[in-house]
């Protein structure tokens, strides 16, 4: 049985997969009618392919020129941040995990140690000056840790200006946001 003419055209284009392509080749070898159709298709294909390509250089130059300023930033190589860099998936995953770990570690350290929130300096007279950039939750334990039993020096704790303390006891702390603990 002869194949559809469309199949012969598809066969010419290499669009017929095995084993059907082999079957068509065998059929063409034995069928004069299909072979004549196939030869006509082949001839048309040959004529289309041999048709001379149009002269394109002038058009190409004109189009390039017309692209003008829009092309100025794009023609040539793309900037790095616009390029797609092929990165293997395991490497990308490893980098992402590392960045996540560093971020979590940094946040945890900051929360635990108040790094950057408290500045401690030793005064020349032997006292301790503590500058606190943000409110701290347990002021009493901080006070107890200063000097310990040795109360021979003057320690100064400077709190941020916007800190509001309860007015019980030292009124001065609430108004000037400064606590002065003097030697007993």
């Amino acid at each position: 049985m002869c194949p559809d003419n469309g199949i012969l055209s598809a066969y010419l284009d290499g669009e017929i997969d095995a084993p059907w392509n082999k079957a068509i080749a065998e059929h063409l070898a034995s069928c004069d009618l299909c072979r004549a159709v196939f030869r006509r298709l082949e001839e048309t294909h040959r004529v289309l392919q041999s048709d001379e390509a149009p002269e394109w250089t002038e058009a190409m130059d004109r189009v390039r020129l017309n692209l003008g300023s829009r092309a100025a930033g794009v023609l040539g190589r793309f900037p790095l941040w616009k390029r797609r860099l092929p990165v293997p998936v395991p490497v990308a995953a490893l980098v992402a995990a590392l960045l996540l770990f560093l971020g979590v570690s940094l946040a945890f350290t900051l929360l635990r140690s108040n790094v950057g929130l408290v500045k401690i300096t030793l005064a020349p007279a032997g006292g301790t000056e503590i500058q606190i950039a943000a409110p701290i939750s347990n002021l009493e334990s901080l006070l107890k840790s200063l000097g310990g039993e040795d109360m021979t020096h003057e320690d100064i704790i400077t709190l941020p200006k916007n800190v509001r303390l309860l007015t019980s006891g030292q009124q001065l702390m609430g108004t000037e946001a400064e606590f002065l603990r003097k030697k007993k």
């Binding site: 669009e15 294909h45 001379e52 189009v63 692209l67 793309f78 092929p86």
Partner: protein, 176 residues
Amino acid sequence: MSGIDYGRPPSFDEVYESLFPLIYRIALRVTGDREIAEDLCHEAFIKLMERASFLPDLEQSKYWLIRVVKNLSLNYEKKRKREKAAYTKLTHLSVGVSESSEKKLLRDETRSSVQEALDALPYSLRAPLVFREYGGLSYREIGSILGISENNVKVRVFRARERIGKALAEGDEHVS
């Protein structure tokens, strides 16, 4: 399309230099008009510039550009049909606006017999044949671009070849 490192994304220059001749040829064979083909290429490459970072490789760029050319040429085809209908209507009313025989002769002389045979085809047959013959696209890719099945592409390419074959054979008979 040789001399390009396929392992890395091509630059716009590389795409332009490599694909312009092919895209221009396709645009010309589909529209049959050099000026329109040039305009289509201009539009297509502007669109490519706008998506400059999206150039995975040359083959994908080719497929993408042909898809753009198809959309643009289809718009042109519709416009041409409208104008042709209006022109035909007008020529029935007045003989003064018909194309001069001298101008027509000059226009025809610049056309190849293949181009004339392609022009005689309806767009629905011309486009898939041109994409196959000059774009080297597979039936699956052509189907995707035109929004039709692979089987439909197969039928259209065959019918287009059949008609082109007949037209060229008739042309040869007239010449001899």
